[in-house]
């Protein structure tokens, strides 16, 4: 059986009926108790001995036991109250106590049937009492169910709140999946979380204590195999279950065999744009910790959130890619004015990001730096083509004109609030470390970090490309030149990082 709805066991505290039974016993002068169908006394008005229904007739316990056994079998079969004469003048009465149409116990009594005094009156009275007890048990059972349901809802609500608080921080698919995996592990207290979305090349196993797992989580062929088997269950035609719960090997032989050890597993299909693309699953290697319906609902909620976060992350990524392409096109069209600088901004951007990659910048800082790098020469849109492409030496006036481009770029982009962290990087990319640069003559570390990084990338790309006034420099000459201007034109720290990157990646 693949799908198992966990049924809550009916756990009733019969002790609270002790007072009631005691009062009945006093009032009617009978022995009365509540027994299980197996004949165990659960609560009694007088004494706690098992098997015997009547304390007054202890002379023939074997017979009493046999008679009550028969009575209980009859009640179990018919589901109805029964009377049975067990000894001369003695009648055994048993009335089933029910919860959810199931017999949970029997209210029993032994009474004398004297001549002309049939026990029917007493039986009716007991029947009424049994009804009251049953309805109280039923009420309690329902209240417990509702409380359990409410408790599950609290859990779910808590998860959704937590997710909402963190949604803003989730930008990439990896972040979304990691967040949900951690949540699943914490909330469901599981040993291992597995997320598989083959279409996105995701087949991840998360575990706080990999050493406790019965297999190596770096064993990729094995984890992919497990992922495939589980996913197959969700996408095979006809089946398409909403969840899979495996609490012991009998539930699903195929899945259990994958692990070699007893496992409990709960898996929920993961839907993107309406169709199943993967699954989210939690696994316990301690077979005592099985999964229940409440866990299933929680994990379903987590899977839905993951789908939402991934869709969000994709939308964000798409928008960002689109914007970047538009900006690149814009930059290309400016560079098109001068065939020598074609592709310059994109190359500078790539070099800048390579340097930034080794500098421990936050994702937000990298983002701002990337925009600054790709847009650093945008101000050249305001420089005339004749000056930009002029072969040979520029006049002082022309040179001043060109030197305006960082400030122009800064002014052009100033209204774009999303670029505010990138603006200074653009404005100061022609400052010199020794303070002799432009437009502000900033010196040393007063120059914004983004500008200092872009300056190194910009200088290197300018040297390694052909210009209208000179040919491109060789690799060795460029390095020598960069080292020569280190500390004068360029930030020595950034230069050191850059040289190291170049040497590490130097083609053999």
């Amino acid at each position: 059986m693949l799908l198992i709805e966990q049924k809550r066991t009916i756990d009733i505290d019969f002790q609270r009926f002790e007072r009631l039974l005691h009062q009945i016993a006093l009032l009617a002068n009978v022995s009365v108790r509540i027994m299980s169908l197996k004949g165990k006394t659960l609560v009694s008005a007088n004494g706690t001995s098992d098997a015997l229904c009547c304390d007054k007739q202890a002379t023939e316990p074997e017979r009493c036991r046999a008679e009550s056994f028969n009575l209980f079998r009859y009640i179990e079969k018919s589901g109805k109250p029964a009377l049975k004469t067990c000894h001369e003048n003695l009648v055994m009465a048993g009335i089933p106590l029910k919860c959810n149409q199931e017999i949970v116990a029997v209210l029993c009594s032994c009474m004398k049937s004297e001549e002309g005094d049939p026990v029917s009156g007493m039986a009716e009275f007991l029947d009424e009492i049994a009804n009251r007890i049953s309805s109280e048990i039923q009420g309690q059972y329902e209240a417990d169910n509702i409380t359990q349901e409410l408790s599950d809802k609290y859990e779910e609500l808590n998860l959704i709140y937590d997710f909402g608080r963190n949604l803003g921080k989730i930008v990439t698919n990896e972040e979304a999946i990691q967040f949900i995996a951690r949540q699943s592990q914490e909330t469901l207290g599981s040993d291992m979380v597995m997320v598989s979305i083959p279409g996105m090349n995701i087949n991840e196993v998360y575990c706080d204590h990999p050493e406790r797992l019965p297999f190596d989580i770096k064993d990729t062929p094995l984890t992919s195999k497990i992922g495939e088997v589980i996913l197959e269950k969700f996408i095979s035609p006809g089946m398409q279950p909403s969840h899979i719960i495996v609490n012991d090997a009998c539930d699903d032989m195929q899945l259990s065999h994958l692990f070699d050890v007893p496992v409990a597993m709960l898996a929920i299909p993961f839907k993107l744009k309406g169709s199943v693309n993967g699954f989210l699953s939690v696994i316990n290697f301690d077979s005592k910790k099985g999964f229940e319906t409440g866990d299933m609902r929680l994990l379903t909620s987590l899977a839905e959130q993951m789908s939402m976060a991934i869709t969000n992350a994709e939308l964000y990524q798409n928008l960002r890619d689109f914007l970047l392409s538009v900006i690149k096109t814009l930059v290309f069209s400016i560079e098109a004015k001068d065939s020598y600088t074609k592709g310059h901004s994109e190359r500078v951007s790539a070099l800048t990001m390579t340097i930034a990659g080794t500098m421990g910048l936050s994702p937000e800082e990298k983002d701002a730096l990337q925009w600054a790098a790709i847009l650093h020469d945008i101000g050249k849109i305001g420089v005339s083509e004749a000056v930009l492409t002029k072969p040979g030496k520029l006049t002082d006036e022309e040179f001043l004109h060109i030197k305006e481009h960082p400030e122009k770029g800064y002014r052009i982009l100033m209204p774009i609030i999303q670029l505010k962290d990138s603006l200074d990087g653009i404005r100061h990319h022609h400052e010199r470390f020794d303070g002799a640069g432009y437009p502000s003559g900033l010196k040393g570390k007063d120059i914004p970090l983004y500008s200092r990084i872009i300056a190194v990338a910009d200088t290197y790309d300018a040297m390694t490309s052909k210009r209208s006034y000179r040919n491109k420099l060789s690799y060795e000459d460029s390095i020598a030149e960069i080292v020569r201007v280190k500390g004068k034109q360029l930030d020595p720290d950034v230069v050191d990082i850059f040289i190291k990157i170049l040497e590490d990646n130097r083609p053999a």
Binding site: L150, S151, Y154, E155, Y161, T187
Partner: protein, 149 residues
């Protein structure tokens, strides 16, 4: 790890004027073997605290008659020095005033509403096991005795 490990269930007092919160937490903790006492406001809570000496008090902040903060202070005045207890406060927002107040208090922690019953249970069992371990250091014989039982 649960409350009935030693056979002698640990007591937890839950104070809240919302009956469904009481019900949910009571069920969750009882299922793990703790003995649960409930109260519907701070005044009631204080009375039951003195009467039962629980190891953990879980309380709402805003309640009629006596709020959670006042109750906490009264509990400190009436506590039994040999019976340490943890207070878990449930609140919808931890504002600055409450934060400053809590900084000066000891053995108190906050959970945000809507509370996760699992989370509350984890806090309770973590505290109880910490309490047991510290007892074990102070009185190693008691631990051996517990194991035999």
């Amino acid at each position: 790890m649960n409350g009935s490990d030693t056979g002698n269930a640990q007591k937890v007092l839950i104070v809240d004027d919302e009956p469904y919160v009481l019900r949910v937490l009571k069920m969750k903790l009882e299922n793990s073997g703790y003995e649960v006492i409930t109260a519907v406001n701070g005044k009631d809570g204080l009375k039951k605290f003195i009467g039962s000496r629980p190891s953990v008090v879980i309380t709402d902040v805003r309640m009629p008659l006596m709020d959670g903060q006042e109750m906490y202070q009264m509990m400190q005045e009436h506590k039994d020095e040999n019976k340490p207890f943890l207070v878990i406060m449930m609140t919808s927002t931890i504002d600055r005033a409450l934060h400053l107040w809590a900084e000066k208090m000891e053995n108190i922690c906050f959970v945000e509403k809507p509370v996760s019953p699992r989370n509350v249970l984890n806090l309770v069992s973590q505290y109880i096991s910490k309490l047991r371990n510290s007892n074990a250091v102070a009185c190693p014989d008691a631990l051996v005795f517990e194991e035999k039982v």
